[in-house]
Amino acid sequence: MNGLQDSALSKLQRTGRYALELESVSRHFGALVAMADINLTVESGERRAVLGSNGAGKTTLFNAITGDFPPTAGRVRLFGEDVTDLPSHERIRRGLRRTYQISLLFHGLRVIDNVYLACRGISRGRFALRRPAIEDSAMESASNLISVVHLTDERDQLVANLSHGQQRQLEIALALAGAPRLILFDEPAAGLSPSERSELVEILQSMPEHIGYIIIEHDMDVALQVAQSVTMMHNGRIFKEGSPEEIENDPEVQQLYLGSGHG
């Protein structure tokens, strides 16, 4: 009986309100404080944009959440569970995903293999010495994802042969694999053409509602189309938080944003 209650309780905690809670999280590199005393909560299914000039600490924030570069102080909770001391791959297995500002792909492998590995990464059979069959479930999801990001024609191409825009699409496909609950997109629109940008917005808007994300995006137009709330970072700290309208009309933000040359 007790055990049942316990598991029900822990389930409640896990499926709690917040997908992400950061508690006074800081990160320094040597003497450089890249990010200081960040307190941030993101609700399950929430879609958040993070704005801020270059060097504001946005990517550092993502690295702290995923464990790529763990925080030097503070706690990180994912879906109610403290993951501060967990390695990256354990955080990912709990439903976290990310993309990278500069594509990190497997250039020696084919497009399908890249996405297949992403699908396999969060399921069993990572060590299988057999070749995956076409009807393998991870292989099937990989094929589906490839069509979601419009790369079906490039399925058997080496990643090294893809255009910049296609590599950005693949970058996104890798983050959509499995059953993500919170995805961190690091400037997914960087270097995309206008038509590729609208494709990206389409992909983001068509994502199932229960999947939340945080998107770093310089382009206000893109950010405001795909986010319900906005966090503005400056000099490694949170500068403003609010709804897109509040942030857009905030005089301080306007000054900062226009001043730093973005718009």
Partner: protein, 354 residues
């Protein structure tokens, strides 16, 4: 068109005429050569090639250049003497050959996994240095330890079994035994390179950080790769100790450890067939260069050949062959072949830098 497959893979693709030709040649080879060529050249090349294959698998697919592969093979050889039979009167539990060999291979593979666990958090040159240190430490350990390894003398009288009335150390049977082992592992590596594990290993080579953020335990994957490559090296080690009939610290000295690296790089790290090409070249040089120059100069010759290959063809003799073929094809037609060559060299770079 699958652009990933390099020239060697096209040549050796399943059912291709050149693969059948190669197999046919390997099968009739003992019939057209004498005992010396069957045993000292043929079987020996196959064994050295198999040990280098274990390095090719780690370095080519995993980006981990381990210098301790011969040490793993050597440990398996020692374990054969310790648990099986030897003529020295030290250890020699006299277990049946098949129990001994399975046990020796398993323990040596565990040792390989242990080496992996130690070196797995290092990259590039540091991996080479740590594994070299392990190889050197192993050499001095077996030289000084008399209880287990019989020190300087080592073991002699280690023989393959007689099964089905065949004495397996006779040149022809031993050649076929070595060929079977080499073909088995070569095929297994080719097959597994497209398996989930193999793809993951190559992805870890290309980008370990990304693999972590896809949910992979990169360190564990690497350690398992070391274990699997240890099975290959150890099996070849059992053959090597049967081939020599004896094992001593000299069998696992730094010189021999480096030979394996030379063979793998000489042949090429891009395809499992490379180490065997390197081994044949190495064994031929070792046997016939001394007819032309004296023994002491042999290392100079090997060194020079190594240098030339590394300078002019980072993909080894295999890459050289690919280049020549490409040039011949390009003089006929142009276009897609050119791009394919570029792809090849690009991923070769990624092997070296990672």
């Amino acid at each position: 068109m699958k652009t990933q497959h390099g020239i060697s893979e096209q040549l050796l693709a399943k059912g291709s005429p050149s693969l059948w030709l190669l197999l046919a040649f390997l099968l009739i080879y003992p019939a057209i050569s004498n005992d010396f060529f069957t045993f000292q050249i043929g079987a020996y090349s196959l064994i050295l090639g198999t040990i280098s294959l274990s390095l090719m698998m780690l370095a080519g697919y995993g980006g981990m250049v381990s210098l301790a592969q011969l040490t793993v093979a050597g440990l398996a050889g020692y374990l054969m003497a310790i648990f099986g039979e030897n003529s020295v009167g030290v250890m020699g539990f006299g277990w049946p050959w098949w129990v001994t060999s399975v046990w020796a291979i398993f323990l040596a593979a565990l040792f390989s996994a242990f080496i992996g666990a130690i070196s797995v958090r290092t990259e590039g040159i540091y991996t080479i240095m740590i594994t070299l240190a392990i190889a050197v430490a192993f050499y001095f350990f077996v030289r000084q330890n008399y209880v287990l390894f019989n020190g300087w003398t080592g073991y002699a009288g280690i023989e393959p079994p007689t099964i089905l009335g065949i004495y397996w150390r006779n040149p022809v049977p031993f050649y076929f035994l070595s060929l079977a082992v080499a073909a088995l592992f070569c095929g297994a590596v080719v097959y597994c390179s497209r398996s989930t594990f193999g793809l993951a290993l190559q992805a870890i080579r290309d980008n370990p950080r990304r693999m972590r953020s896809l949910g992979y335990n990169v360190a564990l994957h690497r350690v398992i790769a070391y274990f699997l490559s240890g099975i290959i090296a150890a099996t070849a080690g059992v053959l090597l100790v049967w081939f020599n009939g004896r094992i001593s610290p000299g069998s696992v000295s730094v010189g021999v450890v480096i030979d394996i690296l030379v063979i793998a790089v000489l042949g090429g790290l891009r395809h499992p067939i490379g180490p065997f090409i390197g081994a044949i070249a190495f064994v031929l040089l070792e046997n016939f260069a001394i007819d032309l120059i004296d023994r002491e100069r042999f290392n100079t010759v090997i060194g020079l050949v190594f240098l030339l290959v590394v300078l002019y063809s980072p993909d080894g003799l295999l890459g050289l062959w690919g280049k020549i073929r490409m040039r011949m094809m390009n003089s006929g037609k142009t276009g897609p072949n050119e791009t394919r060559g570029e792809i090849g060299s690009k991923s070769a770079d990624s092997i070296e830098t990672s």
